[in-house]
């Protein structure tokens, strides 16, 4: 299996990225902040209005190092992609399935199966680990409801009913989400999802985690030669990486949600890490974003055994492995797309 390389995060808005030989140079005015060999990097993510030299972008595009530009608050701006990778036959298959609702539903069904299954196990884990701090009975009921939905999802034949069941699963899951916050209850609570803008601390963190995950997934899809912008379930919209959003559905709960929860429960973030704007939007401070990224990167380096491949990989490679499996399914090497089923 491929090795997970490191990701460079640039959070200071006045840093310029340049290429020197096989190194990336971080320049702040005339001062040199750092110099890193690019062969150790998997991706570069820059926050705020930093610049990067065209030479660097070209070098990275050529070597499959993803450069992503986000705003200071973590909203996606642009991604540098090079020449299309993989083969055109694979992408054509992807487009054909995307246009064929029946075929697309079959794949979407597996994405949603993975999502609901993983959400269920997030809840089950909670009842196992913290039986005295949560309402076990309620968790068991919700877990049962998710099991029922799982059956319905397996039998869904239309995208519409699939979306319906997904929504229903989210309603059940969100109902107990607040209980999974075990620490700092007065500052961190979840009363429902709000985005664009997020209206509370937890939503601000969830949004940021989803952005990072979507970016990782899009890069992984491009690496295996798929088009991250043509999805099966998420409708096409200019600038939206629909396939990345499809593929990350199954990872939201176990990857992003659990990550955010653990930051709160381990008190790695506190109320002082957030600022509220006049319009009610809640943003993370720059300092908090650094803590967040550091923890995110550490999480990516943790290793797990992939349930389908049975191989030890790092968490950060999961989007890549799933993309690989999706590509194999599209090529006809697998009968079905195997979602990442976590337990």
């Amino acid at each position: 299996m491929r090795k997970l390389l490191n990701t460079l995060y640039v959070t200071q808005p006045d840093t310029y990225l340049a290429l020197d030989g096989d190194n990336v140079l971080l320049l702040k005015g005339d001062e040199k902040l750092g110099r890193l060999p690019l062969h150790n990097l998997e991706a570069i993510i820059s926050f705020g209005y930093t610049g990067a030299s065209p030479a660097l972008m070209g070098y990275c595009a050529d070597r499959n190092i993803a450069i992503t530009f986000l705003t200071q608050s973590g909203r996606f701006l642009a991604r540098v992609i090079g020449e299309s990778r993989g083969n055109v036959v694979l992408r054509k298959t992807q487009y054909r399935i995307s246009d064929n609702e029946e075929e697309a539903t079959k794949i979407a069904r597996n994405f949603i199966t993975g999502k609901v299954y993983n959400h269920k196990w997030v809840l089950e884990r909670m009842t196992r680990d913290y039986p005295l701090r949560i309402d076990v009975e309620q968790f068991k009921i919700v877990s049962g409801q998710l099991s029922d939905i799982l059956r319905e999802v397996r039998n869904s034949v239309s995208m519409e009913s699939l979306r319906g069941w997904e929504g229903q699963a989210a309603v059940y899951y969100n109902r107990v989400f607040d209980q999974m916050i075990l620490q700092q209850k007065e500052d961190f609570f979840f009363h429902g999802r709000s985005r664009r803008p997020p209206k509370d601390n937890v939503n601000a963190m969830l949004s940021f985690a989803y952005t990072l995950l979507a970016k990782d997934t899009a890069a992984a899809l491009e690496t295996v030669g798929l088009d991250a912008y043509v999805g099966f379930m998420h409708q096409d919209r200019p600038g939206r990486a629909s396939l990345a959003l499809d593929l990350m559905e199954e990872l939201r709960g176990i990857y992003a949600d659990r990550f955010v929860l653990s930051l709160i429960n381990r008190k790695e973030v506190t109320a002082s890490d957030f600022v509220t704007k006049e319009n009610g939007a809640v943003l993370m401070t720059d300092e908090a974003r650094k803590t967040f990224l550091k923890a995110w990167q550490t999480k990516k380096q943790e290793s797990i055994t992939h349930p389908y491949l049975g191989e030890k990989i790092s968490w950060g490679l999961v989007p890549y492995v799933q993309s690989l499996l999706l590509a194999r399914f599209l090529r006809g090497d697998l009968d079905e797309y195997p979602p990442f089923l976590w337990k």
């Binding site: 090795k3 490191n6 990701t7 460079l8 995060y9 640039v10 959070t11 200071q12 840093t15 030989g21 096989d22 190194n23 971080l26 902040l33 750092g34 110099r35 890193l36 060999p37 062969h39 150790n40 650094k290 990224l293 550091k294 995110w296 990167q297 550490t298 380096q301």
Partner: protein, 96 residues
């Protein structure tokens, strides 16, 4: 794995300064300079072979010397730093 590279390039003779510059550039492409002629490179076996080959082309074997210390994958316990110019761990989260 982490490979430590040190070199001595004879600069008094003809073309010495140019060789030094080239060797330093090549090392820089693969790793980070931790002291004047000491580099730490995180490379896999293939990259290491490529780097060794590249450097062998650059030096004059009569006058210059290169040393490679392989510190393996669990190098973190083997490296200690004292004093100025702390280095960056390329496998830790990189946030600037």
């Amino acid at each position: 794995m982490l490979v430590l590279i040190t070199y001595d390039v004879q600069t008094s003779g003809a073309g010495g300064a140019a060789r030094l510059r080239k060797v330093s550039k090549a090392c820089q492409n693969y790793g980070q300079r931790v002291q004047n002629s000491v580099f730490e490179c995180i490379v896999d076996a293939a990259q290491f072979t490529a780097l060794k080959f590249e450097l062998a082309q650059l030096i004059d074997e009569e006058q210059d010397s290169l040393r490679f210390y392989r510190l393996g994958n669990n190098y973190k316990t083997k490296v200690e730093h004292m004093g100025a110019k702390p280095s960056l761990d390329l496998e830790d989260p990189l946030i600037f």
